[in-house]
Symmetry: C2
């Protein structure tokens, strides 16, 4: 049996899309969570000094989207043609751009500037993304790509959970009914439903 | 014959990896370059308000890496297995992280802060990435993945050109002989060599 070991912070963040896909696949995985103060001394030992990483039978892989894209093939969540994969990759790229905006704020050192940037993020930047994702889902039969469930849908739902916690706005997805319905569908999928029940609690 | 229309700024930047791949494939493409002052009024008409976009027979696609990954299949620059594609995607993800760092600096509005961030970028952050890419190329037979040419190599070479111009440091790649050799090999490839000769001049 293939052994999976995910290493990330004690957060949802960029780790959660991988945890979602592994759970959907019914795979057991070691869920290593590094506390912030333990990170600096070991940072250098990870590829490009970043996590999440996923070890598959001892081999270390990195980059959340690359990991998900690979797992999605076995999970049956990839496209059925290069063009379908292209559709998925485009929207995942846009999700990653949004995640990059969040990372940019979280890495701002000056706390006053960080708070200013966070307000612009939550009140202006994120809503612009959400509006676009909402339209895509509305026009694609309830999914982000190709009119059916793909790893892009798991990806946005996992990131969406994290973003909700980070934003401090419980009504962040109000006004985006198609997106909200997609999130609820993904969170009810076999494997993911159980994962959400049993996972450690984290704010985002 | 398939019609390609690339829309980007009058820069190399995130557009150049796509121009490289199309040139390598021997495809003719319309190379639309939007001047900065013409961008704000039309920004909203592009997917997620961003460029580059590539129109393929009139259908608009976005996201540089997604576009390159798709074109790479026809170009013969993709992996031969899911695992090979995974290797390529990982390193492209890391290149995109580096590009994100550049974008973060370029989008900083305060010119004094921007200059400070640029110095940290060029003197600390970029060298850390380059050191890692250098090691990967050294350990992979001169390429970024799978021991042979892939779209990741075109991607990093195109981005590397842009970064060189932006940095203002002509010796940026000194001390990274494997990476430099890879750049030179890619820039000598049929199609790309001709493209570099005929393309409009831009600093980065």
């Amino acid at each position: 049996m293939t052994k999976y070991k995910l290493t990330y912070f004690d957060l949802k963040g960029r780790g959660e899309p991988i945890r979602y896909i592994l759970s959907y696949m019914g795979k057991k995985f070691e869920d290593v969570r590094i506390q912030r103060d333990k990170w600096p001394p070991i940072k250098k030992t990870f590829p490009f000094g970043r996590i999440p990483t996923l070890e598959i039978d001892g081999k270390v892989f990195h980059q959340t989207a690359a990991i998900c894209r690979y797992l999605a093939i076995e999970a049956g969540l990839a496209g059925k043609s290069p063009l379908e994969n292209f559709e998925i990759d485009q929207v995942v790229g846009a999700i990653d751009d949004m995640v990059g905006e969040i990372g940019r704020v979280r890495r701002t050192e000056d706390p006053v500037l960080q708070q200013q940037l966070k307000e612009t993020l939550i009140n202006e930047i994120v809503p612009r993304y959400l509006e676009r994702f909402e339209k895509i889902v509305e026009n694609n039969g309830g999914y982000l790509a190709n009119g059916r469930l793909s790893w892009a849908d798991l990806y946005i739902t996992a990131i969406g959970e994290s973003l909700l916690g980070y934003s401090g706005k419980p009504n962040l997805y109000e006004g985006h009914p198609h997106l909200k319905a997609l999130f609820e569908e993904v969170q009810s999928l076999p494997g993911i439903k159980e994962w959400i029940k049993k996972r450690p609690i984290s704010q985002f």
